[in-house]
Amino acid sequence: MNRTIVIPEVDIRRKSAARIAELSGQNIAGCIQCGKCTAGCMFAYEMDLDPHQVVRLSQLGMVDELVNSEAIWYCATCFTCGNRCPVKIDIAAVSEALRLIAYRTCPEKFGPDHVSDYDAQNAPQQALVSLYRKLGI
């Protein structure tokens, strides 16, 4: 009995990792887990997964854990992480790719109905446009 056994889950995970890498255009496999992104992230303490953990789970293709995490919705795309990354991975792009995957499985993540009356009247226009483009649609 010398047959190769393919475990389906491993196969799915490999494909998921490749999908995240392709969508984000980032060399996720290059991450060395130095943690610089997490150290500099202004919102890491609000997240359930740290930015470097998001990249690690992306390497492993664990899409379900990532898509159901709160971390990807706390990214303000301030680019501190990607700018400091020694292997030049733009983690903001990884988060955006994961949000894009999340929209497919759980639409209605953020929309105009979630904007408070106060913000609708007072927030600068750019805030609403960028918010819808990053966390909605």
Partner: protein, 310 residues
């Protein structure tokens, strides 16, 4: 260099004072900026995923319009506009696939939209227009030395904390305005107009950006840390360039007073308001009434000591 002025949506709406004081300061410097004809939205953010090609059309359309109006450059005061336009411009220059796709969209667009007016065939746009931030334009085109000679009201009694935020600096490879970890352009500018500029450690942090709408409490804590750092340094005011930083840092202060026991309010000002004030503009023209935390008491301090009448 012949440059067109691009105000963007927020400067015509919620951040009217930023647009007004920019125009006022430029006039006081004996110069003039003309708005790009028929301008539209800049797209606000840069699409980061490879599939979001359509989100680049607004930027390309605007840049091509600037070129067609005969301008070599575009100057904008809003960091969101600056960031998204400069990054789109770079990808149109470097990425041949994106360039071809964008130009195909816009060529089709022109044919469909302007069918009544005969126009020459679409000329490919490949990133020729130079995108400048107002600070860059003041430094390179007007010259800081010229500005320092034009100052009528030195602000040496005003201890200010410069705040850059995110969109002006990062990603530094694309924006190339200054060092992302140790930026100097805003400090240099503030020293030129005579303000006592503090070495502010939180100046490159993020104020929370659009998260103030989606995740208000997280953004409130981020903004609080910045304001608290400025207060501990003894700053009279925080100087910002971005309408969204202004919104997060200024109008959230009543909520911070309720939430954080040791919080003290601190006025937030746009760099153009301070520039116009230093150039001798009366306080009434600075649009200070729209501020949540009144900056007038801080500015009155200078008015008295410098002895220059408005």
């Amino acid at each position: 260099m012949k440059v067109g002025y691009y105000p963007g949506c927020t400067l015509k709406g919620k951040a009217k004072s930023l647009d007004d004081t920019t125009m006022l300061a430029v006039r006081l410097l004996g110069n003039e900026l003309v708005e790009i004809p028929d301008w539209t939205c800049c797209g606000a953010t840069t699409p980061l995923t490879e599939t979001k090609i359509a989100n680049l059309i607004a930027q390309t359309r605007l840049l091509a319009k600037t070129r067609d109006a005969g301008y070599e450059g575009l100057v904008t005061t809003c960091p969101f506009c600056f960031s998204t336009l400069k990054r789109a411009n770079k990808s149109l220059r470097d990425d041949s696939l994106k360039r071809r796709r964008m130009n195909t969209y816009l060529a089709e667009d022109q044919r469909l939209r302007d069918y009544e007016i005969p126009k020459p065939a679409w000329e490919e746009y490949s990133g020729q227009v130079k995108v400048l931030h107002m600070l860059e334009w003041l430094r390179d085109e007007i010259g800081f030395e010229y500005i320092s000679r034009a100052v009528r009201r030195p602000l040496s009694d005003l201890r200010v904390a410069p705040f850059y935020g995110c969109q002006l600096l990062r990603p530094s490879e694309d924006l190339a305005l200054c060092d992302p970890e140790n930026p100097v352009i805003l400090e240099d500018f503030l020293r030129v107009i005579g303000a006592d500029t503090l070495d502010f450690p939180a100046r490159i942090d993020c104020c929370g950006s659009y998260l103030s709408i989606a995740k208000p409490s997280a953004a409130l804590r981020a903004s609080f840390r910045i304001l608290d750092a400025a207060r501990r340094l003894g700053a009279d005011a925080i100087i910002v360039t971005c309408p969204l930083c202004f919104y997060n840092l200024d109008s959230a202060q009543p909520r911070m007073l309720a939430e954080f026991a040791d919080f003290r309010t601190i006025p937030v000002l746009y760099f153009t308001q301070l520039l116009a004030f230093a150039l001798g503009s009366p306080m009434e023209l600075l649009g200070l009434d729209s501020h949540t935390v009144d900056p007038k008491p801080v500015l009155m301090k200078i008015k008295r000591t410098a002895g220059v009448e408005p």
